[in-house]
Symmetry: C2
Subunit: 363 residues, 2 copies
């Protein structure tokens, strides 16, 4: 068994875990459907009460004319960018070098849509106004991911966001929000979803990150944009006869967790503090701006693994289930706070970090 699996195995055996809502198992679906009337009809290729009601609810929540439910964000975002590129007759989009579209989608945007990416900012920080101002090439669309996940979930200042939005509108550049974690950033900005979304022409959001649903996404925008996105949804093979398993669960967990985003954010700041107090450990950002952050450790992956395995065994608290090497002597992992964190007794939590600090110092 590989080291990664050992850690995952050990973490699964603990009583408490720091990250996430809980196990991704069948119970997630069963709970969401428990109170659902068996007679409620399925959606049917994008029509029907189940899908239409939820789309309307989300459009209203985001302050957009209309919205459409997609099986995945990968599909929704490629399509959004494609529509804006077609409208302008220019197959170029600008986004962060660590955008999901650039590194996690097997180049679908390039291979399927033949759209070129222009990279903004660098891999260490998030996009700022300056990066957009100095764009040398004309683009049809700028895509901003809030928070920028691959750098620990960093966010630009709200003023920067506003300025980017104003600039793009002046220049005839469409602004698209990769809002996979939109719910999670509202407490930091102290803004409503409507206030954030009015800066953007189109918005994607996900239901299996902070919301903890099974899968699925919403794409929102004006009527013409969404009508066209439905044609592309069919072309991509995303216009399934029934999407209700994802819709019902998205709605169920949206209702359960939307109001907890502030709590997750506060807990993330507390937990980052615990990590930063440990020898050779630092979080990125130092103070989280959402429910997520990265933890960087100045220690080889194998050494840290041994420390963690012992701590899980001794305390029954699982810190993380995997580690990723960043060099031969450093590694990191990602934490997203969900329902689990609040279940851990504070005393035991302090003990586990005291222990971690001691063990780190000894190595």
């Amino acid at each position: 068994m590989s080291g990664k699996n050992l850690l995952q195995e050990a973490c699964n055996q603990t009583t408490y875990q720091l990250a996430g809502h809980g196990k991704r198992n069948m119970e997630v679906l069963k709970e969401a459907f428990q109170q659902i009337d068996g007679n409620l009809e399925s959606d049917m290729y994008g029509s029907g009460k189940v899908i239409e009601d939820f789309q309307e609810k989300m459009a209203k929540y985001l302050g957009k004319e209309t919205a459409v439910f997609f099986p995945s964000g990968t599909m929704a975002q490629q399509i959004a960018v494609r529509i804006w590129c077609d409208e302008k007759g220019l197959k170029k989009v600008a986004y962060h070098p660590l955008s999901h579209l650039e590194i996690h989608e097997e180049d679908g945007l390039k291979e399927l849509h033949h759209i070129e990416s222009v990279l903004l900012a660098d891999t260490k920080r998030c996009v700022q106004l300056e990066d957009v101002l100095i764009l040398e090439e004309d683009v049809a669309c700028v895509l901003l991911e809030l928070p920028q996940r691959e750098i620990g979930g960093q966010l630009p200042d709200y003023n920067d966001l506003e300025a980017i939005s104003t600039y793009c509108r002046e220049k005839g550049i469409k602004l698209h929000l990769d809002g996979a974690r939109l719910f999670e950033i509202l407490p930091y900005y102290q803004k409503s979803a409507v206030e954030i979304c009015k800066l953007f022409d189109s918005i994607y959001l996900s239901f299996y990150k902070g919301i903890g649903g099974i899968a699925g996404a919403i794409l929102a925008g004006d009527e013409a944009f969404i009508a066209e996105s439905k044609v592309w949804k069919r072309r991509h093979g995303g216009d399934l006869i029934s999407l209700y398993p994802y819709i019902i669960s998205a709605d169920y967990y949206f209702e359960q967790r939307l109001d907890k985003m502030e709590k997750y954010y506060e807990e993330a700041k507390e937990l980052a503090g615990f990590f930063n107090a440990c020898h050779a450990i630092s979080t990125r950002p130092v103070e989280p701006v959402s429910n997520m952050f990265h933890v960087h450790i100045d220690m080889p992956k194998e050494k840290l693994e041994k420390i963690l395995l012992a701590i899980y065994e001794e305390t029954g608290i699982g810190i993380i289930h995997y580690l990723r090497e960043t060099s031969e002597i450093t590694c990191y992992f990602e934490i997203s706070i969900g329902d689990r964190y609040a279940n851990i007794p504070k005393e035991e939590l302090r003990d586990v970090f005291q222990l971690l600090d001691e063990r780190m110092k000894k190595m």
Copy 2:
């Protein structure tokens, strides 16, 4: 309320209905999950026991090296064709003019993959050996849909199938099976899935037609083909974090209904006989070769609607929930036999067709 909705409404109110398994409602999911252990882990971006076991089971059932679960057939088939076209360096596929890819996918194959279609046969009959032999253009792939749904579910002779397969192999043309209704044709051919599938290089099959699942599809073929299809699945946005709602239900209803295909086929022949005995009504094919057929009526849609509404009211048996105009004086509908048909008392069934025949004659 439109005529179509009136008929649907009335049909929904009847005690018995001729077509289908039952209502497409939440109960379909709830039943499939009732005995599923809540602790069973979700699949995770194409990995995990739930998805891997089912893929292996289907590969074995089809007699292919390996298989991959897709959210939709639209996605699976475009990808299959794309892989064969890339392999040959020729962006041309030959299929029937009423193929799903040609008429139901908003031209995804052309718009996303830039693949040209060469049409085989004509819109009245299914593809035969002769159509493939006289192809004037070289193509990378021939796609056969068995049965050809849009012409009532017709099938070529098995000898023709074998000959097409042999010819394509000799010519270096890949043969792909649109097996959306593969399970449903086995009783007519008196062949196993393995025997049919060995004629093809790649196979798609669906779980929400005869099987009656929620959605989802399998694509099967050799290892290299399937490995590449997974890359394209991600590009299309089909590599969802969790596909288990579709997989669990596909497996559940596969187990329930696979052995009933012979019965559905026999019932389809019986039911087609009832229709053909009615004045001004004929089925296509006259004798069904699967669980499906089309019913053509020499009467304007509006007139027939009135007859049907009265019959539903009087007998409590719903014949069909929609009608489609084929001209000002003719219309048609499609019947697929499922679990419902066997529930109708034979006496009442005979009465309803006697009544239909009488009313048709009177008009």
